[in-house]
């Protein structure tokens, strides 16, 4: 069972791209954030308008002219500003940030073209114009929930998809103890580091990156378990030191693998 739906897009060059769809949860959260921001902006506009209306009326009265038309003008301007903010927000951000609004950026999702290209201004406009339609009776919500490609009406018309934006995994730094470096050299001589597959290395790296947020107990058991499995995989007869903390051993293997293969055998 796959929990999050994926979609494969074939580009004109016959390259297959796989994306994970954004999912209804992420989209709901993104929409909540965006609507909150829009609400804040609109309240600012309404505060400013009422302030302006009061001031303008008193100024006009002071000047001796009539003030009847002013309020109507201000209402018209405020309405225009409201529409501009509501639609401009989505069109502007999605065009400028290549398919992301602040809410989407926070939830790490992105709008793309059906062909996998970034979203264009026309598509952003279409999506944005149809947003009120999708909001009526939660039409868009049900379309996302029950559709195979999770498209709301705006997405169908504009030919867009909402997908998860890939996060860069390789950037995070693993912190290593100094002892691991020298131990790695011993390991490279004594064991078959080449038995490690990129997948194994990825798992090892995952552990080393996330060990700090594990509970103490889990950290202890998991490091020992991983170390024992690794010792078997790399066919190491006996440990270089009799008493060695499991984590140090793991770090050393991590360093050894990197020394031996560098960037040639990356898992990502």
């Amino acid at each position: 069972m796959t929990l999050l739906k994926t979609i494969t897009i074939q580009t004109p060059e016959s390259v297959e791209l796989e994306f994970t769809l954004a999912g209804v949860g992420n989209r709901a959260l993104a929409l909540l954030v965006d609507y909150l921001l829009i609400f804040l902006l609109l309240s600012l506009v309404s505060i400013f308008t009422s302030f302006l209306s009061e001031q303008l009326t008193s100024i006009l009265l002071l000047l001796g002219g009539g003030a009847e038309g002013v309020d109507l003008w201000l209402v018209a301007i405020a309405l225009l500003a409201t529409a501009a903010i509501y639609w401009g927000y989505f069109v502007g951000f999605e065009t400028y940030w290549q398919g992301q609004t602040p809410g989407k950026r926070w939830t790490k999702i992105r709008v793309i073209n059906d062909s996998g290209k970034p979203e264009g201004i026309l598509q952003a406009t279409l999506r944005s114009l149809l947003r009120p339609v999708d909001d009526i009776l939660f039409l868009g919500f049900f379309c996302i929930l029950f559709g195979r490609q999770e498209k709301r009406i705006g997405d169908w018309l504009a030919g867009t998809l909402v997908v998860q934006s890939e996060t860069v995994v390789g950037e995070a730094q693993v912190s290593l103890s100094p002892a691991a470096q020298s131990l790695a050299i011993d390991l490279m001589a004594q064991a078959n580091i080449g038995n490690l597959l990129p997948d194994d290395f990825a798992t090892l790296r995952e552990y080393l990156l996330r060990r700090k947020i594990l509970t103490n107990e889990a950290r202890k058991t998991l490091s020992v378990q991983l170390a024992q499995q690794l010792q078997e995989i790399i066919e190491l007869q006996e440990l270089p030191q009799a008493q060695m903390p499991a984590e140090q051993f793991l770090e050393a293997i991590y360093v050894a693998y990197q020394k031996q293969f560098g960037d040639r055998r990356r898992a990502y």
Partner: protein, 288 residues
């Protein structure tokens, strides 16, 4: 392809937890809904039925988690696993409820102490009254947030009880506390998004009775106060509301259990590295 070859999932973000819970519920819709109906019916039997009802709901959470772990269980097998704990489910539920009650009382007591000087400030003048009003709202929000946070930290007790037979029943509470440590706000956000996603159903629950009541109410107003038509109309609308609330409750309860399955899985990945495992591989793939 990639989705098939990766049995482990990385820790999920907030929205993904909800999406995953929905798809988990949808793939097991009939089973989970059937179980939940049983739980609802049991609830009408005092004491024993309550324990049984809580147990069956936790069974849904367990089934969901087992499926996430790719070792799906039959309903009968999971029942066998949770049944020995029938009474602890009721006992711990009571305990959790008492803890929350105590926290609620403590919070309102603390709030009273803080509020007193603030309300005294408020008598000093118009500006001070506005300030004290604002401060009171802030204090109330803080207390509410604290209570919700406690609730989030204790949220997983029932799935712990259903999943970990070796754990002493009272430690289920501490286990939930431990697992959600540093993730209380995340759990709250998950619940927020869960309610957000269920919002259309809740809107329906209020909108339909109102739509039914309005015409009766309008004609009632024309005929004068206390007309029988208006009263009957309102009563009818209220009955519809109760029926809808019941139906929607039955429909959404399994969803909140699958939320627990996914949260439990996610938090165990985060806190215990559940997903950090070397993959099984064929021997001949070894070497370069």
């Amino acid at each position: 392809m990639a989705s098939q070859s990766s049995p482990s999932m990385r820790p999920l973000n907030v929205g993904d937890v909800v999406s995953a819970a929905i798809s988990l519920f949808r793939t097991n819709f009939n089973t989970f809904l059937g179980l939940n109906l049983k739980a609802v019916l049991w609830f009408f039997v005092p004491v024993y039925g309550w324990a049984r009802s809580l147990m069956i709901q936790s069974q849904i959470a367990r089934l969901g988690f087992q499926e996430l772990m790719r070792r799906p269980e039959t309903v009968a097998a999971s029942l066998q696993a949770v049944e020995p704990r029938l009474w602890p489910f009721l006992g711990i539920a009571l305990l959790v409820w008492l803890i929350q009650l105590a926290v609620g009382y403590a919070a309102s007591f603390a709030m009273g102490i803080v509020m007193l000087p603030i309300s005294i400030i408020g008598t000093a003048g118009e500006a001070a009254a506005a300030l004290s009003g604002l401060l009171m709202v802030i204090v109330q929000l803080v207390v509410l947030a604290a209570q919700m946070w406690i609730q989030a930290r204790l949220y997983l007790w029932n799935i712990v009880l259903a999943m970990e037979p070796d754990v002493d029943s009272t430690t289920a509470i501490t286990r939930s506390w431990e697992l959600t440590k540093g993730n209380g706000v995340r759990v709250l956000f998950v619940l927020l998004v869960a309610y957000l996603v269920m919002l259309p159903l809740y809107v329906l629950m209020f909108a339909i009775p109102v739509l039914i009541a309005v015409p009766f109410f309008g004609s009632g107003l024309l005929e004068g106060e206390g007309s029988t038509a208006a009263v009957l109309g309102l009563l009818f609308a209220f009955l519809i509301f109760l029926l809808l609330a019941f139906l929607i409750g039955v429909l959404t309860a399994p969803f909140f259990q699958t939320i627990k399955s996914v949260l439990y899985y996610d938090l165990r990945s985060r806190r215990e590295g559940l997903d950090i495992q070397f993959r099984d591989r064929p021997r001949d793939q070894r070497g370069s």
